[in-house]
């Protein structure tokens, strides 16, 4: 997921070519108050002009405590982006307010109700504590997203590259999202000039269970893609698991082992997920 500032024409033009699965066009923090309207128009025009068919479009609108969020939704929802990212999401009511307004715009423009999804951006201490309730607040919610910059400010601590200060939030939000049955995305690695640190940060996020990770730098996209894609060894092992299970069934075995390790239901589930992800990414068995 790549953040693209909504008021930056050059970056917007090339957004589709940077290798990200999703692009988040930002109308919020990267856009100054003086440019709110021009960014909104720019993003609207680019969504109606360019072909983003291979990429998931997400638009981060302004927060409920700003005077812009309704105008943002008025302009953007008619273009049917896949997802609206709602910033400063703290309570289920916040999401319900956004969802109700999105529904109004959908109705007005004859768009099928519920087609535009919501990804709450959780970036406060209260939001983290309410993560499960936020995930459950609307049928539109498809994923939770951790925003670590505002969150660490809310904690009154420094945001560090190591990220110990956000460890609780990361684990909590992953658990909440999985409990709700929605996806969960990690905060960007914000040092755009550190091309090495992104690898460790992405690997850690994956190890915690995040579905994916966002970036504010196009140069970090590859590291994230590679870190979150199954490795060739993982894919090969997954196919071996499925083959062993099939063989075991054919032989009528109750318990199946592979290389001396018992294959139980969670192992099979993980193997199936790995194969599904690999197929989606066009990765095959060697």
């Amino acid at each position: 997921m790549l953040f693209i500032p909504g008021a930056n024409p050059k970056q917007i033009m090339f957004a589709a070519t940077m290798g990200a699965d999703s692009v988040i066009f930002d109308l919020e923090d990267s856009v100054s108050p003086l440019e709110k309207d021009s960014a909104r128009i720019l993003v609207r025009n680019i969504l109606s002009t360019l072909d983003f068919s291979a990429i998931e479009i997400i638009v981060r609108v302004n927060s409920l405590n700003s005077p812009y969020w309704q105008a943002d939704l008025d302009e953007i929802v008619p273009l049917k982006p896949a997802i609206i990212m709602t910033p400063k999401s703290e309570t289920p009511d916040d999401i319900k307010t956004f969802a109700a307004y999105i529904e109004q715009v959908e109705e007005k423009h004859g768009i099928e109700k519920g087609s535009v999804k919501i990804m709450p951006l959780i970036e406060t201490a209260l939001g983290i504590e309410n993560a499960f309730l936020i995930g459950k607040s609307s049928e539109r919610v498809v994923a939770l997203f951790l925003g670590a910059e505002d969150y660490s400010a809310d904690l009154q601590c420094k945001r560090t590259k190591e990220g110990n200060e956000i460890d609780y939030a990361r684990k909590r939000i992953v658990n909440a999202a999985r409990a709700c049955g929605v996806e969960v995305y990690d905060t960007p690695f914000t040092d755009a000039h550190d091309d090495e640190g992104i690898w460790a940060d992405a690997a850690y996020a994956k190890s915690l269970g995040f579905t994916g990770k966002s970036s504010i730098s196009p140069r970090h996209v590859d590291a994230i893609n590679i870190s979150f894609s199954p490795s060739q060894a993982e894919i090969d092992y997954a196919y071996e698991v499925i083959a062993a299970i099939a063989e075991g069934k054919a032989k009528g075995q109750g318990v199946v082992a592979l290389k001396g390790k018992m294959i139980d239901a969670p192992v099979v589930l993980r193997a199936e997920r790995t194969i599904a992800a690999a197929e989606q990414l066009g990765l095959g068995r060697k």
């Binding site: 033009m13 090339f14 589709a16 070519t17 940077m18 290798g19 002009t49 360019l50 000039h193 730098s217 196009p218 140069r219 590859d222 066009g282």
Partner: protein, 471 residues
């Protein structure tokens, strides 16, 4: 002990008997820091010499005084391989009666040697020379590395004058041009401004669009099947092509591939590849930065080559004959893959072939890297403003939005598709750019021919026309 050192430039010019109508030559290794061309031209103008042909491998904005010498009749003809926009803007106003002749880096030495553009007096700026004219660019305060483009001038001019700001005792043991070609040596305070000669460091681009194109370029090399032991490679000085060298290093190290050589303008990025063991040798006709210049002096596998040996059609072979892959730039490219590197979209001269034409003509896979549009101008057009390199010689266009393969290279197209690369028809890329930028109006063309472009074999390729003044 004998010496060829004369007291000053004026004396050397008098001894060389420069007279009206002669052809004099310069090299461009001092780039935009060069003092020598202006120094010589001012002296000649003061002596009242007229109607000269200036044959310079390139002219830069620092050579702006040349414009007055043209207007005053001191210079009536120019032969160059490259011309920067500051000079090109004036040429496009039609200030010369004879069109500027644009050659490639390979064709210039050929035409000097075959007598098509003979040189009467060559003025060779040398960062170090001994008293007999053994000289080099590899050391001295104005060092620039390889002096490759001046070698044809030294070997073929009737009279050769070396101008140096670092006169050393005879014999200089690492001479690039040797005394047997040199008539006179002149010592001056400064042959150039180090700030304009070369950059101290060549920073790696961080522009994500360029990096994306560079990555794609390396994927194309992999998919082409050319990435194997013995591969040879050429890259320019542009951000995307330099970044391609960086990604190529990663892939070659990972796969354990050892290439044969990198040729052309050599940068620190090329030196890094060679030092990392990715290539056995560097063939250097022009050193792009101080890192490359320093390495040329110290590294026995980094060799200095003349323009003739680099890419000329007149030799029995050149470095081009074994060249597998080249990364090239483009100001414009058209749907027939013709490339313009001479003029901007308004028709104003702002460049030249350099090695572009030679490389594309001979190498196995010539890859042009360019974004779909720059500053709201589409790069892919129906017709380029000026044909610099003929489309039949360009194999692949890489943009950030897709790869177009010349229909002549169906083999490459099939390999790229099989590798899952984003191959598109060049017309489709043009349509994508026009959807965003609109269709540009062709630039208005004047009536006067102000330049003629010659190809790798010396053949006529295109004319450059004057640009009408805006009302």
């Amino acid at each position: 002990m004998a010496t060829k050192v004369v007291s000053n430039l004026k004396e050397a010019i008098e001894l060389a008997k420069v007279t009206d109508g002669m052809s004099i030559s310069f090299h461009h290794h001092l780039r935009n820091g060069d003092h020598v061309l202006n120094m010589v031209m001012d002296e000649l103008a003061a002596m009242g010499v007229k109607n000269l042909t200036v044959n310079a491998s390139a002219v830069f904005d620092v050579h702006a005084p040349l414009i007055d010498h043209i207007k005053n009749g001191v210079v009536t003809k120019l032969c160059v391989n490259y011309m920067s926009k500051g000079i090109g803007t004036h040429i496009c106003k039609g200030i010369m009666d004879t069109p500027v002749e644009f050659r490639s880096h390979g064709q210039r030495p050929a035409d000097i040697e075959n007598g098509r553009t003979p040189i009467d007096v060559a003025f060779i700026a040398a960062p170090t020379s001994d008293t007999m004219g053994n000289c080099t660019g590899k050391m001295g305060k104005s060092r620039f590395g390889s002096i490759g483009y001046a070698m044809a001038d030294a070997m073929n001019a009737k009279t050769v004058i070396v101008i140096t700001d670092n006169l050393v005792e005879y014999p200089l043991t690492c001479a690039s041009i040797t005394e047997d070609y040199v008539d006179y040596v002149v010592a001056v305070d400064e042959i150039g401004d180090p700030n304009g000669i070369m950059s101290g460091t060549t920073a790696q681009t961080r522009d994500p669009v360029r990096l994306r194109m560079a990555q794609t370029a390396v994927k194309c090399i992999e998919a082409s099947g050319l990435l194997k032991d013995g591969m040879s490679f050429q890259t320019g000085a542009g951000g995307a092509t330099m970044a391609a060298a960086m990604y190529l290093k990663d892939v070659m190290l990972e796969k354990g591939v050892v290439g044969s050589y990198i040729v052309g303008g050599i940068s620190t990025a090329s030196v890094d590849l060679q030092k990392a063991g990715c290539f056995r040798a560097l063939q250097d006709v022009q050193s792009f930065d101080l890192g490359a210049a320093a390495d040329l002096l110290e590294n026995p596998n980094h060799i200095e080559v003349s323009g003739r040996r680099y890419s000329s059609s007149i030799g029995k072979s050149s470095c081009m004959n074994n060249l597998d892959v080249a990364m090239l730039g483009a100001t414009e490219i058209d749907v027939d893959f013709n490339v313009n590197v001479h003029t901007d979209s308004n028709g104003i001269i702002m460049g030249g072939s350099g090695g572009h034409t030679d490389i594309a003509e001979i190498c196995n896979m010539a890859v042009v890297i360019a974004p779909l549009f720059r500053n709201r101008l589409p790069i892919v057009l129906d017709h380029v403003t000026t044909v610099s390199t003929k489309g039949e010689n360009i194999d692949v266009l890489i943009t950030e939005s897709g790869i177009a393969v010349n229909p002549r290279r169906q083999d490459l197209k099939e390999k790229f598709i099989a590798a899952g690369l984003n191959v598109k028809d060049i017309h489709e890329l043009k349509a994508m750019a026009e959807k965003i930028c609109g269709v540009p109006q062709p630039a208005p063309k004047g009536d006067k021919i102000v330049g003629e472009v010659f190809g790798h074999w010396g053949e006529h390729v295109d004319y450059i026309y004057s640009v009408p003044d805006k009302e």
